[in-house]
Amino acid sequence: MAILKPFEENEEEPCLVAQDLKKRYPAAEKPAIDDLSLSVHAGEIFGLLGPNGAGKTTAISVMTGLLRPDAGAVHICGIDLFKRSKAARKFFGLVPQEIALYPNLTARENLRYFGRLYGLKGKQLKERVAESLSIVGLSDRAHQRIRTFSGGMKRRANLSAGLLHSPRLLFLDEPTVGIDAQSRNMILERLLEMREKGVAMIYTTHYMEEAQTLCSRIAVMDEGRIVAHGSPADLLRGYPECRDLGALFLHLTGKRLRD
């Protein structure tokens, strides 16, 4: 079995379509996301950038069905996320910002549990767990409990749990935050390999050089809205005064601190 399924049918259809998403939290003055629309195709890494509080995590929460939007629709591989959520969830994986694993279970036990919840069983489950651990270089640490892992190992284990069921779409919420250069490099290499295999990704990060290297397209968000959108090269061409993505980001979102 291939590590990740190639995108087989109807490659023209976007893996993710989000239309006119609005979400306002109770008692909040402004909406957390406002008229957010985007689409991501197979083999594309879509970078979602923005300062703290820009609405990136809310956007991911709505697009993964964790939160219901006040308005708008989300389709995952053509399936309406809010009407057929169970069917839609089979097609995407989430790598949350937190290490969303049980610290007192081993890496293998964690993956076996989540794998079973994805409906994997028997030989297929065993193979998928082994392959997911192998992708992130944790095969020889599979028997260790997560709480004994270093920060980088935890991040890699967190990523492997999102790959278990060979998703067509992967949401990555700051997957490389707070880890060493080696682990970060490994994660980025694996993500590029997955992109080559046709996996679509939504990627949030505060590291601009990561976004510039990795992402096919980027959307810069501020105050719940997309303020700029395009490939890194196109965006930089549109703002010649900005020498790199970091300068462009500050130009678009300002230097005011966001707490």
């Binding site: 964790l66 169970k86 969303a100 049980y102 007192n104 279970l105």
Partner: protein, 435 residues
Amino acid sequence: MMKLFSTVYKELLLLFRDRAGLLVLFLMPAALVIIVSLVQENVLKTTGEIDVQVVLADRDRGAVGDAIRKGLAEAGAMEIVEAGRGFDGGPGRELNRDGKADDAAVENAVAHGDAQVGIIIPAGLTRNMQARIDAQIEAAFAGKPASEAENVSLPELRLYFDPLAQGSFRSAIVNAIHRIILMMEMEMKAGAFTGAVRSFVPEMSDDWGSGRLLDLRVERTGRGGVEKLPTSVQQNVPAWALFGMFFIVVPLSGALIREREDGTQTRLLTLPVSYGILLMGKVIAYVFICIVQFGIILLIGIYVLPLMGTPVLEIGSSPEAVAVIVLSAALAASGYGIAIGVFSGTYEQASMFGPVSIVIAAALGGIMVPVYVMPETMREISRFSPLAWGLNGLTELFVREGDMISVLPEIAYLLLFAAGMLGAAWIGFSRRRRF
């Protein structure tokens, strides 16, 4: 189904790896059952609820000693030990040369709680009583006032009580001795009177003074004519087992909050599985733990506590009803744990509120202090404690020989409580997700 079983297995695995959680779940209730049962066994002795030791120093060796021995034996629930016969008054309270404990030894033995009651019958007491009666009869026939008979000294019986003995128990013993002496007095007076008038009525019988005029029958209520009071073990084993079961709110709510805080819940909510299945998996795992916990405490009541001198735990004649009550209580405890996990903002909140609320519910529910000694208002409030429902049901089965039908209300209350808690938790959880 596989998703459900996987969740149950994962929960059990996490629990077995949480040593602090295991201590709370298994060691704490086991220790509580043993300690409180042993303590209450001693309390019951001082209140006379179970067999008490009476040390009797009979210097008289006459009719009074025999009557007291017989009277106390008939009263039941007392073990009479003769001073100097297998009872030496304890360390430092040596016997006299004739092998009898002296008065001080009896007094000390009672003061130190080795016996709950001490009775000293001084030498010549029967002879003195008879002499006073003869003098009284003689004075009466001579037409002299009763005070004429006062030249014979008034015999004195001495009683000692364990300092911890409660007032009602003391009164009961004093009244019993009074009754025995009064009967003796009547018989002796009747005998003396008969002796005095026999010269006029030779055929007069001398046992008319012992004939009884009224019989008093005391009966205890109980199904099928069974007369039983809860022993310390029958009270404490179900009480503290239930207390321990409800303490699963700590690890259960903690597990839910940790999942929420460390992001695992976020991952779970994006998987193609209903969160209801995941919650059900948790409930099944913790209900299983509760049942194992109850089983262990039951075995302690049957096999371990008797080795320490308590009565053996008797579980009545309806084990299937016991199983249903335990299952219902386990569901109620799990439902409560899930609700606390959903509604608590932080682990600290849950780990404070959970145990404190259980202790309050236990106090209200008669786990620590029996409900019948509570004031009326508190008794009314206690009817709303799930621990009271569980304890009432188990007491009904263990002590009053109840069956499934007689504990149906308690089962219904516990199941309704479980359903209410799970329903509230589900609504709270859904509301949180919507926002």
